[in-house]
């Protein structure tokens, strides 16, 4: 629509441009034609490059800010390949983009439950264990994950929990339950994830239920509880709640451990807790797409990312735990001991993996929309 406005107004206020600019157009068109040629040329070069190893292009589709430019450069130099990074902001967006026919990506990073959906849709290429020597040292609980027990399609990469980040200078006593997010005295200083499954998951756990329920009555009950909470919620944010915590905008945030740990650096009074009712455990996994034109290079890239030292650098930067147990040797002690990054082992049995809810998705969806409309 914007173009209508602009056009209508432009027509009225900029009826004509001078002759001078008219000398520019032929040049612009010339440049365009040349770049069009070059572009298609490059495309073809890329196609041929894909046949061989060196000079090939690898498309890595990942979460915003999930890979450091340095690592990309190192891989490029080691392999003589070119890596193009594009980003998504949710598992659903990733799936929609791939279903939307965005073939051409080689490697991507879905979370656990999305791995099973994508595998069921035939989107994932089978991994070649011989090409992935670094796969050997996985954390015990990730060795046979339910979503892909034999690592046929997915290599666990980073993992963690969903809990509550809070400012211990304001929130006292230290919370141990999801119920703290319903306390009226923190009105306007609470942020929740902008993710329907996580938000419903937290409520369902606080009700003592599974976060993967497909029972409409339970979802309805959860929805009512969330509607009651909404006046207390400042924002539903999946991305910048670390800044909200660090700046004091919010004092309680439902969130992934990593960003909460990042907030601790800027505001030392920030703490992280996984409520006693339990919460989500998640693992983002590296997968090679079936439509990848260069699977061999893709596997080498996956193997590079899960190398203990490379993975340790990623963990130190993002403050998410590495799935590679051997990476622990290279990670600073204070990070290993931070419960926001490395959940204590005794906690893991209390956690729940998010599963696919099939057609109940529409019920969640309707409930979520209703919540947003209050």
């Amino acid at each position: 629509m914007e173009q209508v406005n602009r056009m209508v107004l432009f027509r009225r206020f900029f009826p004509q441009l001078d002759m001078f600019i008219s000398k520019v157009l032929p040049k612009v068109l010339g440049v365009a034609a040349i770049s069009l040629l070059l572009w298609s040329g490059c495309d073809r070069a890329r196609e041929t490059g894909r046949q061989g190893g060196a000079g090939a292009t690898l498309h890595y589709f990942t979460w915003s800010d999930y890979v450091s430019p340095e690592l990309i450069r190192e891989f490029e130099q080691a392999q003589g390949a070119h890596v193009v990074v594009d980003t998504f902001s949710s598992n659903e967006e990733l799936l929609a983009k791939l279903q939307g026919g965005a073939s051409g990506y080689d490697v991507t990073v879905p979370s656990d439950f999305m791995v099973s959906i994508m595998a069921a849709q035939g989107m994932l290429a089978e991994l070649d264990p011989a090409a992935l020597p670094n796969l050997s040292g996985l954390e015990p609980h990730l060795q046979h994950p339910a979503f892909d027990p034999s690592h046929r399609y997915a290599v666990p990469y980073l993992w963690g929990t969903v809990g509550i980040g809070y400012d211990s200078a304001v929130v006292s006593p230290p919370p141990d339950s999801w119920d703290v997010l319903w306390e009226i005295r923190y009105r306007g200083r609470i942020s929740m994830l902008n993710d329907q499954r996580e938000v419903f998951g937290a409520v369902l756990r606080s009700l003592g239920r599974s976060m993967n329920t497909t029972d409409p009555a339970l979802i309805e009950e959860a929805k009512r509880k969330l509607i009651a909470q909404k006046p207390l919620v400042k924002t539903y944010a999946s991305e910048h709640y670390d800044q909200l915590l660090a700046s004091g905008d919010v004092v309680l945030a439902q969130g992934w451990g990593g960003p909460v740990a990042r907030a601790m650096r800027e505001r030392p009074s920030i703490r992280y807790v996984v409520p006693k009712e339990g919460g989500t455990i998640w693992a983002d996994c590296l997968v090679v797409l079936n439509s990848s034109p260069n699977k061999a290079l893709a596997m080498r890239f996956v193997n590079f990312l899960i190398d203990a030292r490379v993975a340790a650098r990623t963990s130190e930067r993002l403050l998410f735990a590495s799935a590679n147990r051997e990476a622990r040797a290279w990670i600073r002690q204070d990070i290993l001991e931070n419960p926001a990054v490395y959940p204590p082992a005794e906690l893991i049995p209390r956690m729940e993996w998010m599963g696919d809810v099939g057609n109940a998705m529409r019920i969640y969806d309707r409930a979520w929309t209703e919540l947003k409309m209050q």
Partner: protein
Amino acid sequence: MKMNGAGVWLRGISGAVMAFLYLPILVLTVFSFNDSRLSAVWQGFSWHWYGVLWHDAALLAAAANSLLVGVLSTSLVVLLGLPAAMGLERLRGKGVRVVETIFLLPLILPEVMMGVALLLFFVMVRWPLSLATVVIGHAAFNLPVVVVLVRARLQKLDPRLEEAARDLGASAWETFYRITWPLIRPAVLGAALLAFTISLDDFIVTFFVAGPGSTTLPLRVYSMIKSGLSPEINALSSLLVLLSMGLVGLSLVLQRR
């Protein structure tokens, strides 16, 4: 106008509204020179964030993508739109309105609808999303801009000029090149400039149809804003404001000459 009480009021209100339009942009620019990460308190002058901007490879790649998409889609709409406008101008009879409506269709679609429709279409015909689909999308919503603007100019032309040229033995191509083109050139360029700006600015359609390697500047800026505030965004914003001033300035200077 009488300079009475009303005049003073009017001036006050107008000044206030203008301040409302400019203060946010101004503030943004000033704080892009702020030497601090916690950006709302002034800590001294610094070019630091512009340096950060210059070394942000992802951002530069996105800017390059935006320029490429802008240039390609603009060239495409000019090449398609110019003949279409001339064809529409010559068309007679009942079909005109139908053809006209089809051409104007992209203009009356809400942006979200356009994005969604293109995404579904590409999925259904199994056309992989890529930089090419972004170019196609931009060319689709910009085509009517060129058609309408060029046609408005064509309507003001004296048809006898072309007839005279033809009578004097000029070929169709010669007539166009020597008579019509010089007359409509400013309109074509104006339309191209506008289409280019709209393409650079587009977020929603691009958001839906972008594929591997086609992150454009607005997509990148959106994800930067989403992942939290950084003075780097202030610096980038100031540059974009400067760019828009340049564009307005350019079109005005050219108009004056």
